[in-house]
């Protein structure tokens, strides 16, 4: 459990197997790292492919439509076809664009969610890097993503893109504050910033998850997390940076082909990352919902943690999607007012209340 900050370690049985069978430690380390990269890529790309399809289907059914139906069973390989189409398109920059920054932007944007995914514990032994400062690092890395959007908006040489980039910069920087405060609340409650420790601190029944364990304030924190993470992800209803109706696509107006696909991919990996974070912090991560309840304990323990984890992530994603397809978009100044005049004070109060609850021992055992 005592992992260092700097050395990523696969604690999975496969990792142990490699370590004990490959004679050269450096080579074992290399194989480990490559396996991590492949694993994360599979999770990220697989999730993005599935999610684009799921989002189209959820959206369609909310709107009394059918969604993609032609390609494969119920249109299930539509996303693959769309991705292939995007990959084969020519990528070009608009006249007068800053070419270097223009092509750099999607890569920068894509890096952040990938890095976050490395710190998420998917199961007891399935985590790329168990870092003792996991939460602060996730906050820091997440902030890196805004750079991609700003660069994309700035380098496109398009006024709509510029407005979108500036909007998004202001929005993400603001909402990062309240997101960080809520995560700090969880860190304070769990007594550790490592995501693995936060998960294990919730072992027990469903009442031991942080959403219920801190009576009352846990659920408030969860709702605050939902709001500010939606804004942080730039997802509708807080998608003022894209704002198709106003800015024709905002920061990615001028992108096409692979570059656009990367923006799209980043959006959905971000969704997975944020949902994973919510699952880990509030919904007990990979733990089954009733540990220690004699009647169901054995049956629930048979289901792998990975399944529990992705079931909860699926629930979170479904909530995000329903939010997206229900509400209209607030205006840019209203969004800022919501953060600075409402969310930030409430979150500060929440943090203080959490401290009081801890000191008085009002947190459920």
């Amino acid at each position: 459990m005592n992992s260092s900050i700097f050395i990523p370690s696969v604690t999975h049985p496969i990792g142990d197997f490699i370590r004990s069978n490959v004679p050269i430690p450096e080579l074992a380390f290399l194989i480990n790292a490559i396996l991590c990269i492949i694993g994360i890529c599979v999770v990220a790309f697989g999730a993005a492919l599935v999610l684009v399809y799921v989002e189209r289907k959820v959206c369609a059914h909310v709107q009394c439509r059918l969604g993609p139906m032609r390609l494969g069973f119920h249109g299930c390989i539509q996303t693959v076809a769309d991705t292939l189409k995007l990959l084969f398109k020519e990528v070009y920059a608009p006249d007068g664009a800053d070419k270097f920054l223009f092509y750099l932007a999607p890569m920068v944007l894509l890096t952040a969610p990938f890095l976050c995914l490395c710190m998420i514990p998917f199961d007891h032994n399935l985590q790329v890097a168990n870092i003792s400062v996991g939460i602060p690092l996730i906050i820091a890395v997440n902030g890196f993503g805004v750079l991609g959007i700003l660069l994309g908006g700035w380098s496109s040489n398009n006024k709509y893109s510029l407005l979108g980039g500036l909007r998004s910069g202001a929005q993400m920087v603001s909402y990062e504050i309240s997101l960080s405060l809520i995560l700090l609340f969880i860190v304070m409650m769990a007594g550790s910033a490592s995501l693995m420790d936060i998960t294990t601190s919730q072992s027990g029944t469903i009442l031991d998850w942080w959403i219920f364990k801190a009576p009352g304030i846990g659920i408030v924190a969860f709702i605050m997390f939902l709001i500010s993470s939606t804004a942080e992800m730039n997802r509708a209803p807080f998608d003022i940076a894209e704002a198709e109706q106003e800015l024709t696509g905002g920061y990615h107006t001028e992108y096409n082909g692979t570059a656009f696909a990367m923006f799209y991919l980043a959006e959905y990996i971000n969704l997975v990352t944020t949902s994973s974070l919510a699952t880990t912090c509030f919904l007990g991560g990979f733990l089954p919902p009733a540990i220690g309840v004699a009647a169901v304990d054995h049956a629930l323990a048979m289901v792998p943690g990975l399944i529990w984890f992705f079931a909860k992530v699926g629930l979170m994603i479904w909530i995000y999607m329903m939010l997206r397809w229900t509400f209209v978009r607030p205006r840019v100044d209203q969004l800022m007012a919501l953060e600075w005049k409402f969310l930030l004070p409430v979150n500060l109060l929440l943090l203080a209340a959490g401290a009081v609850f801890l000191a008085l021992g009002w947190v459920l055992p």
């Binding site: 439509r65 209803p237 003022i240 198709e244 024709t248």
Partner: protein, 380 residues
């Protein structure tokens, strides 16, 4: 130090803010929210709008000029293509003017067909407004919902007139065809479906906190401004002017029905929204009364060649967007010397600059949606 800047053509607002780095954004003619090929040049201070200069004419087809080279009947289908969302009501306006020139009217059944089709068209147009209004604020779901019920109306139109959008239905003396036997049951079934559905739709938008925040007090058009811009329809009534041609100058048989003219006094986006939603309910009221009294008999008066006596003829109707008036100058024979139509969208859109000054770009989009303009009618 303020230096004299040369403004692009059309801008005349004096704006002296030394901290302001104003810039110009070209919105349209290819833009998702300009409801067609409308080009707006925005003068911005950050995201705040200082002034807007609209440029019309990207889809000018010379409809009024085309009318001069055809017969009277050949103009009716051109009027479909002005405001394609209210094609039936445009037909009605043109036909009423022609009937004045011919000195004929239509039969009882013909009048009922006209009123029912026109009111169905009003509901369809307002449903599109509902959809676009939500859609322009970023809600894709209201957009699809509005269009969903509108499709059902178009199915009815399809059955009655043979086409869904550009119906070309009315003729001097009646209409092209009689309605089918299934018309009345279908309209009845549709109304029974729409009534609960509208409750759902209002639940989605009317009290939604984000919708309220974004629309109450935005795009205010005072009573005086609305009158001076020549606005009409829901835009005018939302500013507190109780003017509806159906009530103030009844045409067809509108004087026989019991319905209200919804008025709001705030003159903002939300007032216009409320007026239009209330109008959907009023139209449903009219339709229900029509269904009860729908008479048998001939659907049109005796067919006569369309020849107008020399003179000027004017007919005003209340389309879903506002006052739709036709002015026909007949000199001789079966061809018009000149036909002019006064469409509501053009006059309503003129108020856009006044309404959106000082607001954000996002508000401009919702203000424009609340005016509900159709650009082909603006450009003709």
């Amino acid at each position: 130090m303020t230096q004299k800047k040369q403004l692009p053509p059309g801008f005349r607002e004096v704006y002296n803010d030394s901290n302001c780095e104003e810039f110009f954004v070209n919105m349209g003619p290819q833009h998702p929210s300009t409801h067609g090929a409308l080009r707006l040049v925005l003068r911005l201070d950050g995201e705040t709008i200082i002034e807007i200069v609209p440029h019309f004419g990207y889809i000018h087809r010379g409809i009024e000029k085309q009318a001069e080279s055809g017969t009277y009947l050949q103009f009716i289908h051109l009027s479909d293509r002005e405001d394609y969302l209210t094609a039936i009501q445009n037909n009605l306006g043109v036909v009423l003017a022609l009937e004045k020139g011919m000195g004929i009217g239509t039969t009882e059944r013909g009048e009922y067909i006209r009123v029912m089709m026109a009111e169905l068209n009003r509901i369809a147009s307002h449903l599109v407004y509902y959809g676009c209004f939500g859609g322009d604020m970023g809600g894709q779901t209201p957009l699809i919902y509005g269009f969903k019920e509108r499709e059902m109306i178009h199915d009815i139109f399809d059955e009655v007139t043979g086409s869904r959008l550009t119906t070309n239905f009315f003729r001097p003396g009646g209409s092209r065809f009689d309605v089918t036997d299934t018309f009345i049951p279908r309209v009845k079934a549709f109304l029974d479906h729409l009534e609960p559905t509208m409750k759902d739709y209002e639940l989605l938008m009317s009290k939604n906190i984000i919708v309220l925040e974004r629309n109450v007090g935005i795009g205010v058009l005072t009573r005086e401004q609305a009158i001076s811009f020549g606005c009409s329809g829901p835009v005018l009534r939302a500013s507190g002017v109780p003017y509806d041609v159906r009530r103030s100058d009844p045409y067809s048989i509108y004087d026989r029905f019991d319905f209200d003219i919804p008025i709001e006094t705030d003159g903002d986006n939300y007032a216009r929204y409320k007026v239009r939603i209330a109008e959907i309910h009023e139209s449903m009221k009219i339709l229900r009364q029509c269904i009860e009294k729908f008479p048998e008999g001939p659907y049109r008066s005796k067919e006569k060649p369309v020849k107008l006596l020399p003179g000027n003829y004017y007919a005003a109707t209340e389309s879903a967007k506002g006052l739709y008036a036709t002015y026909v100058v007949a000199v001789s024979g079966d061809k018009p010397y000149r036909i002019h139509t006064r469409g509501p969208s053009f006059a309503n859109l003129a108020a856009l600059n006044t309404m959106s000054q000082g607001h954000k770009i996002a508000d401009l989009v919702s203000i424009m949606a609340s005016l509900d303009p159709v650009i082909p009618e603006v450009d003709r």
